[in-house]
Amino acid sequence: MPGSTRACVMNRSERRRPRAMVLAAALIAVLVLLALFGPEASPYSYSALDWAHLSIPPGLTAEHWLGTDSLGRDLYVRTVYGLRLSLIIGVLATAVSVLIGVAWGTLAGWVGGRLDAWMMRVVDVLYALPYLFIVLILAALFGRGNLAVLLLAIGAVGWLTLARVVRAQTLSLKRREFIEAARAAGLSGPQVLWRHVLPNLAGSIAVYATLMVPQMIVYESFLSFLGLGVEPPRASLGSLINAGARQMLTAPWLLLVPAGVLIVLLLSFNILGDGLRDVLDPTRR
């Protein structure tokens, strides 16, 4: 039986993490640049139809190097455009989640008592529900193709985990002696919160936010895949994959290209987030 001390728990791939982290960050930077400038830098528009080139596989013509779909739309432009939309939605939805989650979690953890019990009961109940299902129903009922509703609906899913994490950390910080030391030193409640609690939460919030972006992108793609997200001719990675999956018999590149971009995007964010967690979040060590 191999015994182990905590210091030895890291395995070799974990020790190699810094390099992987840098690579992931670089890939994210490239994808963000593509999303920012890619669509405008191309001669084509995401919605322009080219009847002369229908369902061209990648690499066949110089004009459409990644090929076209069955309506002759340029796959490269559609993919970077979808990437842009997915990224925007992912980041904004994460912002919504982080705002709600941090506010909810610190309030519950800091005030404690009945308010805490009540607020966490709400989270528990929502947690036990197939929450994405409810978002799905909401999206179907109110917001087919409506980006603002979509954003709110997705953002409303992610805050639960963050609220739990932040609350647990606030609680454990509150019990730490340095918080008591701050109160004994004559700091007021808000001062303690601002000077000693929030700075110590910042690391884990950053980590969870990084890990949440890919999750939000998945949720958006998920809704778009089910036809509840962005509506054609606009495209997100999810709706592109949906369209591609329907034609994978005849034009597999329509599935493989956007799926590949999504995989690289999600993988990079996950690796970066996990790496950040090891660096920043002392509670996970």
């Binding site: 395995n11 036990a128 529900l129 129903i137 009922l141 999810g238 599935l255 799926a259």
Partner: protein
């Protein structure tokens, strides 16, 4: 232990009731109605239909009626698929969805736990390192990506397995969907299992057990495995939630006649009773799964039983 279980079961009922109540009113708040969308019905027919289903009465009365019917086990008729009852639709779809979910869960647990244990015991071995890659990949891949990709690879290119569809009594139809659904779950479980077993193996009570000369196998099975399983079991709650949502995608991708399709279509069609029925079914399922996870947790760790709720 029994008291704990009973208290927890009793806690489900109010949650379910709240869920149903909120859903009931939210669905009706949405613009449109079951007979307004899409189909151009003559106004008279529409009014007639609404009167028939009691949709013209005050909301609170409708709510009371619905609960009363529910108490008698009556989920009502479907508005969009006439001639069908909600109960009938669920009865036809649920076996498919349940088979898919259970198969995926079994697959994930039966592969994830041994993988994780093995990786922890041979840290840095080949298996451990491939597990890290496998986990990173599958966790980054949503099932609506893996599904089509697997179908492309195994169904269309290799032609080993059927790509879509469902015939009763042909388990082969279930393999690809179940694997698609199980992959990320299996990776999560393996990762959790590895991390928690490593942590437990580093605990002082494991050193004590070894100092008693109990032998490798006994220390692992009797002293280490049970506490190491705790995080895995706690994860089964969220896992159930994942399975429920994931099955929706997988059923769409592989065109399985499960219950998943009723939810989205029901919501789009404003089929109030059908959506309520789906909320009831899936809500109960996830709540029960969370409950089961908590009960197993309490059994694994005697300290939990004494904690007040």
């Amino acid at each position: 232990m029994l008291g704990y279980a009973l208290r927890r079961i009793a806690g489900i009922v109010p949650v379910l009731l709240i869920l149903l109540t909120v859903s009931f009113f939210v669905i009706r708040l949405a613009p449109g109605g079951p007979f307004a969308s899409g189909r151009a019905l003559p106004a008279r027919t529409r009014a007639e239909l609404e009167r028939l289903y009691g949709l013209n009465r005050p909301l609170l009365v409708q709510y009371g009626d619905y609960l009363r019917a529910l108490a008698h086990g009556n989920l009502g008729p479907s508005y969009s698929m006439r001639d069908e009852t909600v109960a009938g639709l669920i009865a036809s779809g649920l076996p498919v969805s349940a088979a898919l979910g259970l198969a995926a869960l079994a697959l994930a647990v039966l592969s994830g736990v041994p993988l994780g244990v093995r990786a922890a015991l041979r840290r840095d071995g080949a298996l451990d390192r491939s597990l890290a890659v496998f986990a990173a990949l599958t966790l980054a891949l949503p099932s609506f990506v893996t599904g089509p990709l697997l179908a492309l690879a195994f169904g269309l290119w290799l032609r080993w397995l059927p790509v879509a569809g469902w015939q009763p009594d042909t388990p082969r139809d279930l393999i690809l969907p179940a694997v698609t659904l199980a992959l990320p779950l299996s990776a999560s479980i393996a990762r959790l299992m590895r991390a928690s077993l490593l942590e437990v193996l580093g605990a002082s009570y494991i050193r004590t057990a070894r100092a008693r000369g109990l032998g490798r196998a006994r220390v692992l099975w009797r002293h280490a495995l049970r506490p190491a399983l705790v995080p895995v079991v706690s994860y089964l709650g969220p896992a159930a939630t994942y399975l429920v949502t994931g099955s929706l995608v997988v059923e769409t991708v592989f065109e399985l006649p499960g219950t998943g399709r009723y939810l989205v279509q029901g919501a789009i069609d404003r089929d109030y009773t059908l959506v309520m029925g789906m909320v009831l079914v899936y809500g109960t399922l996830t709540l029960l799964a969370n409950l089961a996870a908590d009960l197993i947790h309490a059994w694994l760790d005697p300290r939990v039983r004494h904690e007040p709720l």
